[in-house]
Subunit: 329 residues, 2 copies
């Protein structure tokens, strides 16, 4: 028997609290629609453009909610986080607002814009080799040395509740329009965003199907949801979705996602690139590859959406200008 939603690790009430904490600092991103997209898909599509969020991705929400929960006595030690980029910026920006020291452990091959922007928020950046070093061990070492609090990228109740405010705003805006969603899709790496979104959406719209979206091959959520237990993906190489390369779903996130998600969908890098260009040309938004994977799955026809109301989370827009120029050309 699956657990009732009321005993899951993150509740709708946790998300309500996060929304209060975030209100003065986070951008309340709008819910957008596009006649061109509706025409193309035959669905009624709404987009949640989290590239318009502070730091250019949803990650600020979870980071700020987490940092705000650190007891005053522990704040002088600062925070440490490991991240390929968006979580790094979220933690750095949250720490700057809360006057805390931040150290970020980033892979040496993370997009330059993400490294530079993280430094721009006043954080210290420590680089590591993605193939040969253990970022968690490096981060834990720094945490022990400075007495810093480790801010996990996804497997944390406060982080998940913060990301859940994305879903809460979607639900509020749909309710104001008198619209009921059939399908809600959010990108998944460790699964914190989609877990938070599912918690908020299912509380208001129990019939909605919430789906994780991943790059082809990096499909640990799709696999795990099918298997009913956490399974790693089998990808060996890279994907243009640099933000979505986690190997296995989080423990806390999967406890939620196993209960609330309908399925996982995937899209190839080519489909993602086409979606990035579509978003630029037709929607006039800058989305990073990882942020477009849900829309890519929709545009590629991997989701049966015709005649349905679909909400797609575009989770971020931090992409290097030269790569972006190539993607839209």
């Amino acid at each position: 028997m699956t657990k009732p939603a009321s005993v899951l690790p993150v509740t709708p009430s946790d998300i309500d609290q996060a929304a209060q904490v975030l209100a003065p600092f986070a951008v309340r991103t709008p819910l957008l629609s596009s006649p061109a997209l509706d025409q193309r898909t035959g669905a009624r599509v709404f987009l949640k453009p989290e590239m318009l969020q502070r730091t250019g991705s949803f990650k600020f929400r979870g980071a700020f909610n987490k940092l705000s929960s650190i007891p005053q006595a522990d704040r002088s030690g600062g925070v440490v986080a490991f991240s390929s980029g968006n979580h790094a910026q979220g933690v750095a920006a949250a720490a700057q607002i809360l006057n805390m020291r931040a150290t970020i452990v980033m892979p040496a091959d993370a997009p330059r814009s993400k490294r530079e922007r993280t430094k721009g928020y006043g954080a210290e950046v420590v680089l590591y080799d993605r193939d040969r070093e253990d970022r968690e061990a490096i981060a834990r070492g720094i945490a022990g040395q400075h007495g810093a609090t480790l801010v996990p990228p996804y497997d944390d109740r406060k982080v998940i509740a913060g990301q859940g405010t994305v879903g809460r705003e979607i639900a509020e805006d749909l309710a104001a329009l008198g619209v009921t969603p059939d399908i809600v899709i959010a990108p998944a790496s460790g699964g914190g965003l989609v877990a938070g979104v599912a918690t908020a959406i299912k509380a208001r719209y129990p019939q909605a199907m919430v789906m994780s979206a991943e790059p082809d091959g990096f499909d640990d959520h799709a696999r795990s949801l099918r298997a009913g237990k956490r399974e790693p993906h089998h990808a060996k190489g890279r994907t243009i979705c640099d933000a979505l390369m986690a190997t296995v779903p989080g423990e806390i996130t999967f406890a939620i996602n196993q209960r609330l998600l309908a399925q996982g969908v995937t899209a190839t890098d080519a489909e993602v690139a086409a979606a990035v260009a579509f978003v630029s040309r037709e929607l006039k938004l800058v989305v990073e590859p990882g942020g477009a994977v849900g829309l890519a799955a929709l545009l590629a026809g991997h989701v049966d959406a015709r005649g349905k109301t679909v909400v797609i989370v575009l989770s971020g827009g931090n992409v290097d200008a030269d790569m972006y120029a190539k993607l839209i050309a």
Copy 2:
């Protein structure tokens, strides 16, 4: 003595009516804010992102309001318009919705994306040589031949009222936030957008300073506002702001703008290019050069904005992918 606002050619009530006509078809674009932009300018800045509008620019609003006002008996003749691109798409999309035939007279050097998208909305496109042919004469010839209604790009009460819904939405959203604007800036070519915006803004916020923004050299509004009468600009060449090359303010638009605008501001092509890149990098929106000229003037320090509440209309996002790639590189 200047005329009281109540006897101007377009009234706030005309804009209310246009809003009703547009409600089922136009996107109600959000009012965005960006902590990065506030930090950079020292102002509280709100952005009205009209690249998110149907057809990728505000022009759909005026075109749809105008076409909807054509008597049923005259609709079978269709419509004809001359435009460098955004008005063309607006008229074509409005005609498609209303099942009317549309012929668009476009300069042969208009951005390819604008030509192709105009055809994509089902319009017939007739090209002319910008330096040697008279587009108005060509359009009038087609109008006479087919019995088509000419849809002027700006110097028309219905068109101006439609563009005014941009200002009406800004005023509504600011009121909901409890914020009073000090400065509102909108790009100007023939002046229809800024005239409509000024009419709506000044009705609710009489103290707000509304300003037109133009490319350096193509400053017929700035000159005319200083002179107190319609004056042409003296530019001989081109600007990257292809949407803002009208030679002289419209008669109807200037009757409004002379009464309601505080001043005209300008920005160089280099400042505009920097603003386009800023909007991509920091705001994650695709803005075309002409759509960014107001923000360019703000970012370049040509507007005394520190400590003030400023609203900037980003009027469109229809830019060829290759030019855009160069601008953001």
